[in-house]
């Protein structure tokens, strides 16, 4: 249990003014890193479940409808036998003309226009299906077949995002390290400032843990104070970034929506930093007191 009252004149030293601001800064930075990470996570998840799993196969039109049918049949046979292909669907002519409408206008009387046939293929993402080898296989049967793999550029994007996420984790890790360093430093300074009082406490029969508890309680208090201050500063910043993202119409980035769970994540930040500060202060005191006498 942490007692409110402190036997050491902690409120009178300058550290109390210095530590909360540093921690506020740490929490501010980590909130930004966390927000970036969550947004990218969402984006990747969307791309993954959306485009990533599909491949389109384009079959060039034949001389007549029968040839069309024959080519399509051959391609579909290959797809049916191909492991890793989950589902495939030939887009109907109507649907194709719908898609082409913006370019060729109303095609009411041009139904026999030779346009390629499109097959939407859903790929099992776990199967390592290679679009290029699929294209080769298909081209052997039906010349001119092409395979569009959205995954190629997407996978590059995903790789980029992954790198950014790793960086965000690294930033969080560095922030944690900086917090630990700061608390170690301030705690050591505190030990030096209160050395005389600590010696008296020792001579009176205080255990190291009793003294450490007082430093830990103070670090927790200052940590919470600074942590929530940092979060309070981060919220408008994040809101501003979100607003700008919407304004510029960055469609690749999903709307920064805060679910309850994610909001909890942000509330957890200052608590986590404060707990880290508390544990660091405690272990610093325990270690240094052993060295002291």
């Amino acid at each position: 249990m942490l007692r409110r009252r402190s036997d050491l004149p902690m409120n009178e030293d300058t550290l109390g003014r210095f530590l909360p601001w540093l921690i506020a800064f740490m929490v501010f930075l980590s909130a930004l890193a966390l927000a970036g990470m969550l947004i990218l996570n969402d984006a990747v998840k969307r791309w993954d479940t959306g485009l990533n799993a599909t491949v389109s196969v384009q079959v060039p039109p034949g001389a007549n409808a029968r040839e069309d049918e024959q080519r399509l049949g051959q391609v579909l046979a290959v797809l049916a036998a191909k492991p890793g292909v989950e589902r495939y669907e030939t887009l109907s002519k109507d649907r194709l003309f719908d898609l082409l409408k913006p370019w060729i206008g109303d095609t009411g009387q041009a139904q026999d226009l030779p346009i390629p046939m499109l097959i939407d293929v859903t790929v099992d993402r776990d199967a390592d299906l290679d679009a290029q080898s699929l294209a080769k296989e298909l081209q052997a049967r039906v010349p001119g077949v092409s395979v569009d793999d959205h995954r190629v550029w997407l996978s590059q994007l995903v790789r980029l995002v992954t790198v950014i996420q790793v960086l965000a984790w690294a930033v969080l890790g560095l922030i944690a390290l900086a917090t630990i360093g700061t608390v170690v430093f301030t705690t050591r300074t505190g030990l030096a400032i209160h050395r005389e009082a600590i010696e008296v406490l020792h001579l009176i029969g205080a255990q190291d843990a009793y003294i450490a508890r007082q430093f830990a309680a103070r670090a927790l208090g200052l940590g919470l104070k600074g942590g929530f201050l940092g979060l309070a500063l981060a919220v408008p910043t994040l809101a501003g970034i979100g607003y700008l993202a919407l304004e510029t119409g960055a469609t690749m980035v999903p709307k920064p929506d805060l679910g309850v769970l994610k909001a909890m994540g942000f509330l957890f930040l200052p608590v986590a930093v404060a707990l880290l500060a508390m544990l660091t202060a405690r272990s610093t005191v325990m270690r240094n007191l052993k060295r002291m006498s």
């Binding site: 036997d7 004149p9 009082a197 008296v200 020792h202 001579l203 009176i204 029969g205 255990q207 190291d208």
Partner: protein, 260 residues
């Protein structure tokens, strides 16, 4: 010659055997200190400034470890004790430091409460005992005063209250009458005597021969780092058996003739 310390003396509260102390590479400030005190002993520790009184007390309250020899407190060899065992032992020792060493940011009440709180006492007990003791030493109206706002004599009484609040088995006082007049000094000594009657072993380091003369307790004397426990010699040396200034009861009393 110092009296031989009996080997089988489980009863002894304090026991020094050939203890020596030096700071760093300096000369020994204490040499061959050998003595033992049982429960309910009362000793005055005399000696010139720089004779080693404070060093001897520091060894007793475990702020220092001896460079040689062996110290046992409450039957336990201090040298063999781990760091985590020390607090428990220190709680049985009350110390009145020469410079008080009160915590200036705490009220008189909190200062006196400290040893109880450190030992994990219930807050209701703390309140009751501390208020009672502070009233007893005449500081009832200053429970919430901080030491710097009080006089030297008042601070001294806080320091003494803090030393005795847990009814220690060993009470050490370094010049406890240094900052007060003889009358107040005597009053504080009577407080020590009360505790002593309840079983506490008391060691008072002092320059104040007036008080030593008035109280019938054995004396020990540090002379250049060596402890002289030959009372007859000390008494004649310091003329303790002659009525001194401000001394009411000059008779040496039983304490002076009884050696341990």
């Amino acid at each position: 010659m110092p009296p031989k310390v009996r080997d089988s003396d489980p009863e002894s509260i304090v026991r020094f055997e050939n203890v020596g102390l030096r700071y760093g590479l300096g000369p020994e400030v204490l040499q061959d200190i050998t003595f033992a005190l049982g429960p309910s002993s009362f000793r005055f520790l005399l000696g010139e400034s720089g004779a080693g009184k404070s060093s001897l007390l520091k060894l007793l309250y475990m702020a220092l470890r001896p460079t040689r020899g062996q110290i046992s407190l409450f039957g336990r060899n201090v040298a063999s004790m781990s760091r985590s065992e020390l607090p428990r032992l220190r709680r049985r020792v009350g110390v009145v430091f020469q410079e008080f060493r009160l915590l200036d940011h705490l009220s008189a009440f909190d200062n006196v409460a400290l040893p109880m709180r450190v030992a994990g006492a219930r807050e209701s007990d703390v309140r009751r005992h501390v208020e009672e003791l502070l009233s007893w030493v005449g500081l009832k109206d200053h429970l919430n005063s901080r030491p710097p706002t009080l006089s030297g004599g008042q601070q001294q009484r806080i320091a003494i209250a803090r030393a005795v609040i847990t009814r220690p088995k060993l009470l050490l006082a370094d010049e406890p009458t240094g900052n007060v007049d003889d009358k107040m000094g005597l009053r504080l000594m009577h407080l020590f005597e009360e505790l002593n009657k309840l079983g506490t072993t008391v060691i008072v380091a002092t320059h104040n021969l007036g008080i030593v003369r008035q109280m019938a307790h054995p004396v020990m004397r540090l002379e250049n780092g060596r402890l002289n426990t030959d009372e007859a010699e000390i008494i004649s040396d310091l003329r303790l058996d002659e009525p001194g200034i401000g001394a009411g009861a000059a008779s040496a009393g039983p304490g002076f003739t009884r050696i341990h």
